[in-house]
């Protein structure tokens, strides 16, 4: 049924720029992409969404004829005025099209540029390759113009810079400049902003949006982020397991999804209003369900909270803090430079608090958590966790501390030793545990912990690779809980997971924290996730705490400029959809028959 839908969408073939018919991709006996039809008209912006591994990248690559050699493909891809069959066109013909009529921007800006070549050369190469401009001076002029058009500062200097001297956002701008160099008819973007910080992501998306609109370029935009797609595209295709399961105009698909998978995606990406609200009750001061019965954070709602300078994050004033950080500095000294990972951080956490830490990449979030967990030592300042002075603790008290404070890491694969069985992994914190236990006891505890996260004890002898990403993260959580800790520290616990899986893991965390009355410290770059789970927010930037306070306040009335920028940059599907009809020229697309 999908096929027919897509075909009818491109009914008016005359203005079709790209026509994909029956495209399929196989790796040996496995079908990676099932026969797929797609038409992109001139100036049309098409989004492609779906979970990881659903075949988005492969589809995108086949449109530019860059499918990996080892994969077999079928069907045709026709480009107006050029080729009836891009997939089987000779290399020479393809070379003439790539970079001239079709351009592509890839996901990972860190590796998409040749590290040994000055970026100026890499941009000008697109021009010289297609002999678009008569002489070198004009090429140079044009490159400078391009760099300016993507708002790169000091283009003259950047010409001679090497990729490693640029930030991720800057590199992605270079990629965009490259893509637009020859004013292509079709631009393919494969998750171009996923690797970037939210604020940077926003800038790059704006840039892309503007460039595409102003030039009338057709766009195929691959993303897993619904809000981003909604913002940029007119039409959207949803993929799952290599099939297009739904397609139609953005407004239709995202407001009235028909396929289950799309519904799931939508539900998952609407974390913030639903879950966050449900737990605390709309707008009212949160009564955390923590069994520890820690003081409600009402105190900080008052004027005292607002008057406090942003650096000192004193969150709750009632009981004696469980974690007390003051004047914390952590500097990394290498031969070349000194990095201030943390600068003068003050923080107090009381039992039962749920603290969310947000901030851009490199702002020191992980460093802070590591120091709290005793995995790193502060350069100066005092840190006391559960009454233990982390900077000066003996091995024994450190061990006790670590039993009370456990960590869940970002990457569910990387944090599980692939050579150990799940039982061995979960059991590890018990080995050498202060209340040394017998093997039998350990096994029991392990089984119980696994069950509490929904992994059957019968799976304990399997290896991590035999589990899905979500299951692995559950195992990781089981390991953290096996010592029955008081504090759970989580470093981006769901950012490596697909949106649909994310929701489940978050729900699990939520339940466990509630049930066990844990104190939670969670780092995430995703404001929605943090808002969903936490009642207090700490915003960090460049190693400093720029703002801290109850979630409602920080989200509702951010005091710091950076916090504001962060909130604004975070794409929100509902906001985008609300604005959608007012945007130019998209409403006229006929809905699906």
């Amino acid at each position: 049924m999908t096929a027919t839908q897509a075909r009818s969408a491109g009914a008016s073939r005359d203005d079709a720029l790209v026509t994909v018919t029956g495209l399929r991709v196989d790796a040996g006996p496995d079908r990676l992409v099932h026969p797929l039809d797609l038409t992109i008209r001139a100036g049309e912006r098409v989004g492609l969404i779906g979970e990881s591994g659903s075949g988005k990248t492969l589809t995108a690559l086949s449109l530019i004829g860059l499918l990996p050699d080892e994969l077999r493909h079928g069907g045709t891809v026709a480009l107006r005025d050029s080729s009836d069959d891009l997939l089987n066109a000779p290399e020479r013909e393809l070379c003439g099209l790539r970079g001239r009529r079709i351009s592509m921007v890839f996901q990972e800006p860190m590796t998409a540029l040749n590290p040994l070549m000055q970026v100026g050369k890499q941009v000008s190469e697109v021009l010289t390759q297609h002999r678009t401009l008569p002489n070198r001076r004009e090429v140079r002029e044009r490159v400078l113009g391009l760099l300016e058009s993507v708002r790169l500062p000091d283009p003259e200097r950047l010409l001679r810079a090497y990729p490693h001297q640029l930030s991720g956002g800057q590199r992605q701008r270079i990629m965009l400049a490259m893509a637009f160099a020859n004013d292509p008819d079709l631009l393919i973007c494969d998750e171009p902003t996923t690797a970037l910080d939210v604020t940077v992501q926003r800038q790059v998306l704006d840039l892309l949006d503007e460039a595409v609109r102003s030039r009338g370029t057709s766009l195929l935009f691959v993303s897993h982020d619904l809000a981003v797609v909604a913002r940029t595209c007119d039409r959207v295709l949803v993929m799952q397991h290599g099939r297009v399961v739904e397609s139609g105009s953005v407004t239709d698909v995202l407001t009235a999804p028909r396929h289950d998978y799309t519904k799931q995606l939508l539900a998952a990406s609407r974390l913030e209003p639903t879950a966050g609200g449900a737990r605390r009750g709309a707008g009212s001061p949160p009564e955390t369900g923590s069994g520890a019965g820690a003081g409600a954070p009402t105190g900080s709602e008052g004027p005292a909270g607002t008057e406090r300078p942003a650096g000192a994050a004193e969150l709750s004033e009632a009981a004696e803090p469980l974690i007390r950080v003051s004047g914390l500095h952590r500097t990394h000294r290498s031969r070349r430079r000194t990095v201030h990972a943390l600068k003068n951080v003050d923080l107090q956490v009381r039992a039962g608090d749920r603290i969310g830490i947000v901030g851009e990449s490199g702002s020191g979030k992980t460093t802070l958590l590591k120091i709290l967990a005793g995995l790193d030592r502060p350069t100066s300042g005092s840190v006391s966790v559960c009454g233990v002075d982390v900077a000066r603790a003996s091995k024994r008290s450190m061990r006790r501390l670590r039993e009370q404070l456990q960590t869940v890491f970002q990457d569910p694969m990387g944090s599980l030793d692939p050579r150990m069985t799940v039982r061995e992994i979960v059991e590890e914190p018990l080995i050498g545990h202060s209340g040394a236990r017998s093997g039998r006891e350990r096994r029991e505890l392990t089984a119980r912990s696994l069950e509490s996260v929904g992994i059957p004890a019968s799976a304990a002898e399997r290896y991590p690779h035999q589990f899905s990403g979500g299951q692995r993260q559950r195992i990781s959580i089981a390991r953290a809980l096996v010592t029955d800790p008081d504090v759970l520290v989580a470093d981006e616990p769901v950012s490596a997971l697909d949106v649909s899986v994310q929701a489940q893991v978050l729900a699990l965390l939520n339940r466990l924290v509630d049930e066990r009355g844990l104190t939670l410290l969670m780092v995430s770059h995703d404001l929605a996730v943090v808002r969903h789970l936490c009642d207090r927010i700490v915003v960090m930037r460049h190693g400093e705490v720029v703002e801290a306070g109850p979630a409602e306040r920080v989200y509702g009335a951010p005091e710091d400029d950076y916090t504001r920028a962060l909130l604004e940059a975070t794409p929100s599907l509902d906001r985008v959809l609300a604005e959608k009809p007012s945007r130019g020229g998209t409403g006229d697309r006929p809905p699906q028959p």
């Binding site: 659903s54 397991h241 456990q406 990387g414 944090s415 692939p418 050579r419 914190p429 290896y463």
Partner: protein
């Protein structure tokens, strides 16, 4: 629903890699790797058989029969002393394997822990070990063999020790690189977070995870050791007579290249085959085990 489909969860280039071991590993070997395995297994079998049976006594000189070509009695001919080449070749497999095993064992036992130490400790320990490894490279196997031969008398042992010591830095490097990669994994942080002592981390986490690399290195080093032993024996610094050794057979055959080429051809082939076998096996293992090259074929 929670992604029970394991393939969906990992992503294309992810570290979603089963710890291939045992039979599963054999099945995953590419064809070339399997060929290598068969060759290696063949050599092992020949060496084992030669312990209990060879067509003739490989040490028994029969001057009357000397330098015969291939005959029914002597399928691969006889050498200058009238000894059966096939028998010597079979018995020579023992030395070849012995040298390989002991040299690789020495190199692995010396190199791997140092590499792990360097990777885990960083700082001055790392500097000292990497510098030491660099320095060892200035003492190649040959030089060490000359020295060892002079100190202990040229023997199979001196050759093995020399080759083993010279191959040590290779293991240290591989182990260090692997350790650095492992140490950056979150599961090490998790283990530290669980207050596991460093020795246990080295034993339970680092070693099993770099073990594949060590195995690959061992296979390749084995091949190098065979070549090195051949070269040393050729120079008279390896296995002394009359112990059958392929390298010494080559040296002895050199003078007869024109009259009795079989004295060069057979041991030459044997060496080449053994080296080929171990290299193919090593490459095959790398294909299966080394995450860096995975998905290349």
């Amino acid at each position: 629903m929670s992604g029970t489909n394991a393939a969906a969860a990992g992503g294309p280039a992810g570290p979603d890699r089963p710890p291939a071991r045992g039979v599963g590993l054999l099945r995953m070997l590419p064809v070339t790797g399997k060929i290598g395995l068969v060759v290696v297994a063949g050599i092992v079998v020949v060496a084992l058989v030669s312990l209990v049976w060879t067509p003739y006594d490989p040490l028994q000189a029969v001057p009357e029969d000397r330098l015969s070509g291939s005959t029914l009695q002597h399928p691969l001919g006889t050498d200058r002393y009238g000894r059966d080449v096939l028998s010597i070749l079979m018995a020579g497999a023992q030395i070849t394997l012995l040298v390989g095993c002991v040299a690789v064992a020495i190199a692995a036992v010396v190199g791997t822990p140092l590499g792990i130490l360097a990777g885990m400790r960083r700082g001055w320990a790392e500097e000292l070990i990497t510098r030491g490894a660099d320095m060892m490279l200035a003492f190649p196997a040959l030089l060490l063999a000359i020295m060892a031969g002079a100190v202990m008398g040229a023997s199979t042992w001196s050759a093995m020790i020399a080759i083993g010591l010279a191959a040590g830095p290779g293991f240290a490097r591989v182990a260090r690189a692997g350790t650095l990669r492992v140490m950056s994994s979150d599961f090490i942080l998790a283990a530290r977070g669980a207050s596991q002592p460093e020795t246990r981390i080295a034993r339970r986490h680092v070693l099993p995870n770099i073990f594949d690399l060590v195995v690959i290195q061992a296979s390749v080093t084995f091949a190098l050791a065979i070549l090195a032993e051949a070269a040393l024996s050729f120079l008279g610094l390896g296995t002394p007579p009359p112990e059958p050794s392929w390298g010494r057979m080559l040296q002895g055959g050199q003078d007869y290249l024109a009259v009795a080429p079989h004295l060069t051809v057979w041991p030459g082939l044997a060496i080449a085959l053994a080296v080929l076998g171990f290299n193919l096996l090593g490459d095959g293992l790398r294909d299966v085990l080394d995450p860096k090259t995975r998905g290349r074929r």
